[in-house]
């Protein structure tokens, strides 16, 4: 089965570019997770499944209305409620509890979402029949799928927006203050519970947008969450909690490892280099490659 492709420069270039395109989506998908982990210090193992369920919602709305943008907006509204609800209903209770309990409870949430999806939508894959840009895009020697490039660009833009949110806006700064030192933030008169709920909701909304972008390029089935869950955590681990830039960078790294791995090793073994990289990072730079905290 091992048949590594001939090792030449253009291959590497294309591989890297593909990796970056893929990585930017990964980065966006992980951003919500990183935000929640950074500010609330909640270990969310249901992240992938939240992405999965929102992909389904987006798919259904898009199919019924026939307009992806309507789907995006309405599902954003929906998942704002969902996020707030989950926070009040579940996360709220495990704030500051030991990690094991947080993991347990979020795994539970994930199981419920996954099997609800299985019960409601059955196991076959669903995808939007029409894509936004169904044509190739050739830049110099390499041709890319315009659709994926679009997705990548949107992801990057969103990441930058989030960066601005966390460094410029009042809410963002407040949440960072909470992340740095909760008590101090309290004393400064920041309404910590509000910040928590807001941050969690924003995290969920970011995931929803990621889901929207994913639906532009791929299908969803109840097990989509398992693809993204571990991956996003790995990106957060690599990026550390050093802010958006770190996440983007590690998203890129994972993406490039992914595509180069499947080009020069074999797609069937591409996870090996990715996960080994992750483990080594955890060993030697526990705070991540770009971590501040």
């Amino acid at each position: 089965m091992f048949e590594p492709t001939a090792f030449d420069l253009s291959a590497i270039v294309t591989g890297v570019v593909n990796g970056l395109v893929l990585g930017s989506l990964y980065a966006l998908a992980s951003l919500g997770l990183a935000l929640i982990f950074g500010v609330l210090d909640i270990i969310n193992f249901a992240h992938g499944d939240i992405l999965m369920i929102s992909s389904y919602i987006i798919y259904l709305i898009a199919l019924s209305t026939g307009n992806p943008w309507v789907a995006l907006l309405s599902s954003l509204a929906l998942f704002a409620l969902f996020g707030a609800g989950v926070y009040r209903g579940i996360i709220h209770y495990v704030l500051g509890k030991e990690p094991l309990i947080q993991i347990a409870i979020t795994v539970g949430l994930g199981l419920i979402l996954q099997n609800l999806a299985l019960a409601l939508f059955r196991a076959e894959p669903r995808a939007l029949p029409s894509t936004l840009f169904p044509y190739p895009l050739s830049i110099g020697p390499l041709t890319l799928s315009a659709n994926r490039v679009f997705v990548a660009l949107v992801s990057i833009i969103l990441c930058i927006l989030v960066h601005y949110y966390s460094t410029r806006t009042k809410l963002g700064l407040a949440s960072r203050a909470v992340a740095e030192n909760r008590e101090a933030a309290w004393l400064m008169g920041i309404n910590v519970p509000l910040i928590y709920m807001a941050t969690f909701t924003i995290g969920v909304l970011l995931t929803t947008t990621a889901a929207f972008l994913w639906m532009q390029i791929g299908p969803v089935d109840p097990y989509l969450g398992t693809i993204f869950g571990l991956l996003c955590w790995i990106i957060v681990a690599l990026g550390g909690l050093g802010g958006v830039a770190g996440i983007i960078a590690s998203g890129f790294i994972i993406g490039v490892l992914d595509s180069l791995g499947s080009m020069f090793l074999t797609p069937s073994g591409k996870y090996i280099p990715m996960y080994i990289a992750f483990i080594l990072t955890i060993w030697f730079k526990p705070r991540g490659l770009f971590g501040r905290r």
């Binding site: 089965m1 091992f2 270990i43 579940i90 209770y93 495990v94 509890k97 030991e98 990690p99 094991l100 309990i101 947080q102 993991i103 347990a104 409870i105 795994v107 539970g108 949430l109 994930g110 199981l111 419920i112 996954q114 099997n115 609800l116 299985l118 019960a119 059955r122 196991a123 398992t226 571990l230 955590w233 790995i234 681990a237 074999t266 069937s268 073994g269 996870y271 090996i272 996960y275 080994i276 992750f278 483990i279 955890i282 060993w283 030697f284 526990p286």
Partner: protein
């Protein structure tokens, strides 16, 4: 019950010998004693154990009492002592010995009863065997996850490695199954050591530990499939023919793992691990070599799970490499362990038997109506757990007992 512990003649060696309300009692200390206890006490309902040193208090003025260890002590000496001083000692010793004794009997009786109940139907027998098997795995997980408090999601990996190694050894090389089981266990213990040493050396904890172990399962899954191809590998050597034998083997495994858990629980290792779980730095500061003991716990757990792997292969008749290492399995093991309450042997048994039993039954009976109902059940239980009773089954049990006995005094409460 205490009466049953009465003994006229003294056992050889050292012991704690006390008189309470006119009865003489012998009392044991913990591991390794307690395991010897169960062996020593199978003949005759004595539940006695031989401690290294007898603990006899001479003076009793609440404070500055000193402990010394006289060689022999006559009844007259003993009679001088006021029983109350020892009650607390008695309590704990009594628990550690007779408690094990009772629980062991309980477990064995339960296993036998289940066999008697289910032997008529191959289906229920296999079903039960499966439950017993996973109960054993959950108990093994309890050592690293429950006592040491490390959320390990690698069980599928260790089980798989052990399973494959031992099957290949017994099948292709033709080693005796027992030897190959042990070698399989060792190999996965070695793997665990190789992974665990740097992991603890670099202080990987909490979520990062969980993720790394999960990642290792994924790596193994891909690596093994690439190495030997995604096929089913059938056992030609079948040491275990019938389900009755399989049930016996699995039950023995469970009892062994149970005893091992008990041993850990009542040994220095156990106390160290619990201290590590509670507060690693504090444990370090009182002189616990946290790295060393975490690694030890990890390797013990990996060894058990690895050797159990062969039983899994026997259960289905072959091993396969496509999605054999499944993080889903690891996660559900950890879930059962957490629900069982970290470090509670009974809790783990209950959650493994009850929760998984109900879940599997739901799956086999209602799957075609609501697919994944059992997983929904797990999810609900987990969330309820996190919100209501983070300490799992023992926590719930404690609530009930405190509700029941509000007047009853704790062991030493003679006032």
């Amino acid at each position: 019950m205490l009466r049953s512990l009465r003994r006229r003649e003294f056992p050889r060696g050292n012991y704690l010998w006390i008189v309470v309300n006119g009865f003489e009692y012998f009392f044991a200390s913990g591991f390794p004693g307690s395991v010897r206890v169960f062996i020593a006490s199978l003949p005759g309902l004595s539940g006695l154990h031989v401690t290294q040193k007898p603990l006899i208090r001479i003076k009793d003025n609440n404070s500055n009492t000193k402990t010394h260890h006289p060689r022999v002590n006559t009844r007259r000496e003993v009679n001088k002592f006021k029983p109350t001083i020892y009650l607390q000692l008695i309590a704990s010793n009594y628990r550690s010995v007779t408690g094990l004794y009772l629980r062991l009997i309980g477990l064995v009786v339960l296993l036998v009863a289940m066999y008697i109940a289910f032997m008529t139907s191959k289906y229920y027998l296999l079903f039960t065997t499966n439950l017993v098997f996973f109960a054993a795995i959950v108990l093994a997980w309890n050592i690293i996850g429950g006592y040491a408090g490390q959320l390990d999601l690698g069980s599928a990996g260790y089980m798989g490695v052990g399973a494959i190694v031992s099957s290949i050894l017994s099948n292709n090389i033709g080693l005796h199954p027992l030897i190959s089981i042990i070698l399989g266990g060792l190999s996965s213990a070695l793997l665990a050591g190789a992974i665990g040493f740097p992991m603890f050396r670099f202080g990987v904890r909490e979520v990062w530990y969980a993720l790394s172990t999960a990642a290792i399962v994924v790596i193994l899954n891909n690596a093994v499939r690439l190495l030997i191809g995604p096929y089913e590998y059938y056992l030609r050597v079948r040491p275990i023919k019938t389900y009755d034998e399989l049930y016996l083997a699995t039950s023995i495994a469970l009892v062994l793992v149970f005893l091992l858990n008990y041993a850990v629980n009542n040994s220095r290792l156990g106390y160290y691990l619990k201290a590590i779980r509670e507060d690693e730095l504090a444990a370090e500061a009182i002189g616990v070599d946290t790295r060393r003991y975490k690694l030890l716990a990890l390797m013990i757990y990996a060894f058990i799970v690895g050797s159990l792997g062969y039983l899994y292969v026997v259960m289905i008749g072959y091993f396969y490499t496509y999605r054999f290492f499944d993080t889903g399995i690891s996660v559900s093991i950890a879930i059962l362990g957490i629900i069982g309450g970290l470090g509670s042997i009974e809790g783990c048994l209950v959650s493994a038997f009850l929760l998984r039993g109900v879940g599997e039954y739901l799956r086999t009976s209602l799957a075609h109506i609501i697919p994944g109902l059992h997983l929904l059940l797990y999810g609900a239980v987990l969330i309820a757990l996190g919100v209501i009773e983070p300490e799992g089954i023992p926590g719930i049990a404690r609530r009930f007992t405190t509700l029941l006995k509000t007047t009853k005094r704790p062991m030493g409460g003679v006032k």
